[in-house]
């Protein structure tokens, strides 16, 4: 499974847990639209730390980088390279 697909699956599962089963595109801004909140972003952080071994502690943190499947994938690509 590609990184993008893995991230998408994780977000789908998270939204489902919140009772939100509406479809979304890879570009859709889930935090900006209010479907995910800032605490959900932390759940995504934990997922990325555990799955890809990324350490966010040493760089400025920007919640906007966690807004869509596409932006999260881009962030993972940047930080794992």
């Amino acid at each position: 499974m590609s990184k993008q697909a893995e991230i998408r699956e994780f977000l789908e599962e998270m939204l489902n847990k919140k009772g939100d089963s509406s479809d979304f595109s890879d570009q859709q801004l889930l935090v900006t639209e209010g479907r995910l909140d800032s605490l959900d972003v932390m759940t995504i952080v934990v997922f990325l730390e555990e799955t890809y071994g990324i350490d966010f502690s040493d760089r400025p943190f920007d919640q906007n980088e966690f807004d869509s499947v596409e932006s999260i994938t881009a962030l993972v690509d940047t930080l794992s390279s």
């Binding site: 800032s38 605490l39 400025p60 920007d62 906007n64």
Partner: protein, 489 residues
């Protein structure tokens, strides 16, 4: 079980005909007129000035950012003559500057110094890559502010020096969280020029020391990119403004029935005459407490009033922001639908919660207790809802620091410190409890038990978070015991 939502105000932004109309010159003028009427209904004294700024932003959206900065600058100047920034005017008078200095010189020099400080600090941080300052600019800013408060409290300065130092701290305190958001945007590409960031430092659409709606990065995301998005944003703004008006009618009727306050010159011949929280606390303090059921009524009425007041206030601000072309989320979003303590915190005062999350929760979560997930979540929540919440209010209530000094103010803040700890613990536990837990599908639990527990918690704990009346924690606990008919003196 699905519940069909009843719409009191139709979803006008979903009508293609209206969206089309709102993109034409006549349609824009109509929307502005409807919005102006809504502001007038709300009793806004500045409805005309607001609508003129919004008109400029509607007809020349390509100049939205410069217009936002100009509108906010105009607001700064016009609010200054009307409100004199409250406490700043008090400092000017009590320090006896009126005889030697003009108010305008005092005010302008302080505003200029604050803007200059913000700009210099922002650029200093940007130029300091690789240093501690670059990695922790907000922590350094808050620590520096605290040090200056201590210096102002305890250093023997002349009255003029005192007036200028306190004046600077008062104005910087108004802007400190706005600057914090700018600092967070320091490495964004493409970013927003600092001069345009100043446009949403205490913007013309209103707010408090909490930035509505957050900072430059968020505004870039929610800004209408074309005529259709602007039309939808404005239609949503109008909808929210009129929803706020309906809520304000409910609030007015509530105040009339519960507190006996006149509403549109109408007074009821009989009302519940519910005392205020401050009145009930004063009675408790003087060993003459109200009956337990009256104390319950006091707490419940105060909580309902606070929710309605915050909703109306926040909706008007966000409605105006949407009219300006920024599709911001609501500040208060159906708090009564909350099923958990953490969810209520998210729904009640969204932008304050976001501030605490951005500047306290994230830094703690990302750096500490990484090997212990549950402790990590709890401590990060405590840092936000507890420490951050206390610090925000401590800095906000600068008049108490000025009166009592830093240490005296910390002591006077004991009730809020307790409130912060209580809130942080409750939200932290709520977060832990809800991790990896599916939403309950049981009707009774979803629609009765959970909301009653959540609202009950906030209803009672809310009294500890009210503006400082000068009582010690013992008075609050005595009041609580009176509510349960225990320990009545």
């Amino acid at each position: 079980m699905s519940v069909t939502r009843l719409r009191i105000i139709p979803a006008i932004e979903q009508s293609p005909a209206l969206v089309q109309l709102a993109q034409q010159t006549g349609g824009k003028a109509l929307l502005l007129a409807v919005f102006a009427f809504g502001l007038y209904l709300h009793g806004s004294r500045w409805w005309l000035e607001l609508v003129l700024i919004l008109a400029a932003m509607s007809f020349w959206p390509q100049f939205r950012r410069p217009l936002l900065t100009a509108g906010t600058l105009y607001w700064l100047v016009s609010q200054h003559t009307r409100l004199k920034w409250g406490f700043l005017g008090h400092v000017f008078n009590t320090q006896g500057l009126g005889t030697t200095t003009s108010w305008y010189f005092y005010w302008l020099s302080l505003v200029a110094a604050t803007i200059l400080f913000c700009a210099m600090y922002y650029y200093l941080v940007r130029k300091s890559r690789g240093t501690w300052l670059y990695r922790r600019p907000v922590a350094a800013l808050l620590a520096g502010y605290f040090i200056l408060l201590t210096i102002a409290s305890y250093t023997p300065l002349s009255t003029t020096q005192q007036a200028y130092l306190w004046g600077f701290l008062i104005i910087l305190g108004h802007y400190i969280w706005f600057l914090a958001y700018s600092l967070q945007d320091r490495n964004a590409a493409p970013g927003t020029k600092f001069i345009y960031q100043l446009g949403h430092y205490q913007p013309f659409w209103g707010g408090s020391n909490t930035p509505f709606p957050k900072g430059a990065a968020y505004l870039r995301k929610i800004e209408a990119k074309n005529a259709e998005e602007l039309a939808i944003s404005q239609l949503k703004g109008i909808k929210l403004l009129y929803w706020a008006f309906i809520l304000s009618l409910v609030l007015g009727i509530f105040n009339m029935v519960v507190y006996g306050r006149p509403f549109y010159n109408l007074e009821l011949p009989a009302h519940l005459a519910t005392p205020s929280v401050n009145d009930a606390l004063a009675h408790t303090r003087s060993a003459d407490p109200y009956d337990w059921y009256i104390n319950w009524a006091v707490v419940l009425a105060n909580f309902i009033k606070s929710m309605l007041t915050l909703s109306v206030w926040g909706h008007i601000i966000i409605a105006t922001c949407r009219m300006a072309g920024f599709q911001a989320l609501r500040n208060t979003r159906s708090p009564l639908r909350s099923r958990t303590i953490a969810e209520f915190w998210n729904r009640y005062y969204y932008y304050f919660k976001e501030l605490l999350v951005e500047f306290f929760f994230y830094p703690t979560f990302l750096r500490y207790f990484k090997t212990r997930p549950r402790l990590r979540m709890f401590m990060a929540t405590m840092a936000a809802a507890g420490l951050g919440n206390m610090l925000y209010h401590f800095f906000r209530d600068i008049h108490i620091i000025m009166d009592l000094g830093v240490l005296g103010a910390l002591k006077a803040f004991q009730v809020y410190i307790f409130y912060g700890l209580l809130l942080g613990t409750a939200i932290g536990l709520s977060q832990l409890r809800n991790q990896n837990r599916k939403q309950s599908t049981h009707w009774f639990r979803t629609y009765v038990t959970a909301p009653v527990i959540v609202l009950g918690f906030y209803c009672i704990s809310h009294i500890f978070g009210l503006p400082y009346p000068g009582y010690g924690l013992d008075v609050y606990f005595q009041f609580l015991m009176n509510m349960f008919n225990v320990g009545v003196v």
